[in-house]
Chain length 349, copies 2
């Protein structure tokens, strides 16, 4: 059975959402959860679930809490016994298979990278955003903020890692991989996209070339690689557009009675949609390339998002995603080996 | 009176939309329009307006048409007598004050730059997107696709040009200027944004620092500078999100009768919104830094968009925006002169 360490003090609704998410996870999945954080606060939440002593849930005390105001460096230097750090250490020491945190994204990325270390062959871990699309399957966009000013080599590694994630976790049989650019033609783009395209073509990937910003949500590509600066802008612009659409709709509709009804109905759909952009349904954003597993949830995550993140962490570990990443990076050595080999698909668990 | 040359063969609905837009413009504004393109086709459209011979409208024949399939280089080499080229030449030769085209964006940018030339002091012209916001005034985002792999110096020039555009055309009295980045703190961003921030701070601008992708639509900043790659991704992502929102809404709502009504009402609001993203209300995207004036409209532009673009071209010329750009670039010399001088605002025309 997989054991997942949950940073119980991380999110905006901590530890309530974390505890409830853990309870839901252990009830519905074959997984054990260690809730890491201030023991009293966690036990107080747990007490609401009468049967919790019979469930595979443990509590590990950690006195300190990393806040949203802490810089990543400060969190690491000044809070060696934060819930985040203790949970990450459990993964490093083999006491847990993966880490889930809805805390300060910068601090989680830095802590996981330093404490858990990096998968052999990986230059820099990358944060993958899981976005909804107009088709049924979500798209993996990588990087969405862990690395700015990326090299060609790093982006190619992001592609390899995200392709494996799409295959093993999202269960796309032959993920289509594209580069985020500003035109579909190969010569469109910037120096980085053109050189990455040259490299990805030589790798054993289902590479479809350039895609545009509007293709992120179209659902015709499974993995999109980009520099973390561009990916982060894309993510934040999306959130901004949704807020604007909501406002424009209300203003357009409130002018009439029928409009008022329409808006009242439409509002719930918007709220649902906005949540989807927060990727709670998809179990948070995986930090690809760190040893063990690290799933970063949005600060606003509710219990359902935490539960889904625990599920993803479990599947990530069971699917041996890191071993596949290590093997694939070594095998491909970026174009030196063009032979196709069979790639594993997840079992139907 | 200002004379504006309109590429009558450019857009998806050419020459119908162009002719109707020109008629509307000369009827409501103090402006003269030269419709450039295949004379027969233009005159056939004009014949629908009985009084057109009494209006300040002329036709200039140009036999060739640049299509969306033409590359910018091919359009320039192979079609020296295209409607676009002839219209641009009229501006160069002083027969018109500005160019409006809804044609192939790449070809329009290249043609205007080569034929009309560049304002003294400008390294590279920049395409400015005019985006709607949650407040009443639109925001100028520059560059949205003319230049990728920009230098610090170029981005600072974009800021200076767009600030003048915001002041003179959008009529913001003291435009707030921000850099598109991935966090508000100064150290957040990439090498380019950090070095641009250092430069903009020394200029005589109302510089507010970094803004994020979600701030584009919030309305708390008037000018946002970014590399054309990032700006183009932001523009296209926005279009993609709107399409996705529309689909998710329909799916959520069609499940119930009241939902169906809600969707039917909401749909029109969406269509209106999508149009706003095409910046037709704001008169197209100005190519800042070319001599004369060049306003590029979306290919789907309707008559209203063309009319608004003619209005903007007229105001751009009347407001002597290029002279202001030239003076400001020479004056500031990027930080060497920190003295504040009074800046003109447009007259209440």
């Amino acid at each position: 059975m997989q054991t997942i360490a949950v940073d119980a003090m991380g999110g905006d609704h901590a530890p309530k959402a974390e505890v409830e998410g853990a309870i839901r996870a252990v009830r519905s999945l074959d997984v054990k959860v260690v809730l890491v954080g201030q023991e009293d606060a966690i036990r107080q939440e747990l007490a609401q679930y009468e049967d919790y002593r019979n469930l595979p849930i443990e509590v590990a005390h950690a006195p300190d809490v990393v806040t949203m105001e802490d810089s990543a460096a400060r969190a690491f230097r000044k809070k060696p016994n934060s819930s985040l750090r203790v949970a990450s250490r459990m993964v490093k020491n083999g006491l847990a298979h993966g880490l889930v945190s809805a805390g300060n994204t910068g601090a989680v990325m830095a802590t996981a990278k330093i404490v858990q270390g990096v998968v052999p062959g990986v230059d820099r871990p990358a944060l993958a955003g899981i976005f909804p699309t107009m088709k049924q399957t979500p798209v993996v966009v990588v990087d969405v903020g862990a690395n700015v000013d990326c090299t060609t080599h790093q982006l190619a590694q992001f592609a390899v890692m995200a392709e494996i994630y799409s295959r093993m976790i999202i269960r796309r049989p032959n993920p289509r991989v594209g580069i985020l650019s500003i035109g579909e033609e190969e010569h469109k783009g910037n120096d980085l996209t053109r050189s990455v395209a040259g490299l990805l073509k030589r790798l054993d990937l289902n590479f479809i070339g350039n895609v545009e910003g509007s293709d992120i949500y179209a659902g015709d590509v499974d993995v999109i690689v980009c520099d973390g600066f561009v990916g982060n802008v894309a993510l934040k612009v999306s959130e901004g557009v949704v807020d604007l659409v909501k406002l424009v709709m209300r203003e357009s509709l409130e002018a009439s009675i029928s409009g008022k009804i329409g808006y009242a109905i439409a509002k719930n759909a918007f709220t649902a949609f906005r949540k989807r952009l927060d990727y709670s349904e998809y179990g948070g954003a995986p930090l690809l390339g760190v040893r063990g597993v690290c799933i970063i949830c949005h600060g606003r995550s509710n219990a359902n998002a935490i539960k889904n993140a625990i599920r993803v962490a479990k599947e990530f570990s069971e699917g041996q995603v890191n071993q596949l990443i290590e093997r694939e990076l070594a095998r491909s050595a970026f174009g030196e080996n063009g032979n196709h080999v069979e790639r594993p698909l997840p079992e139907n668990v």
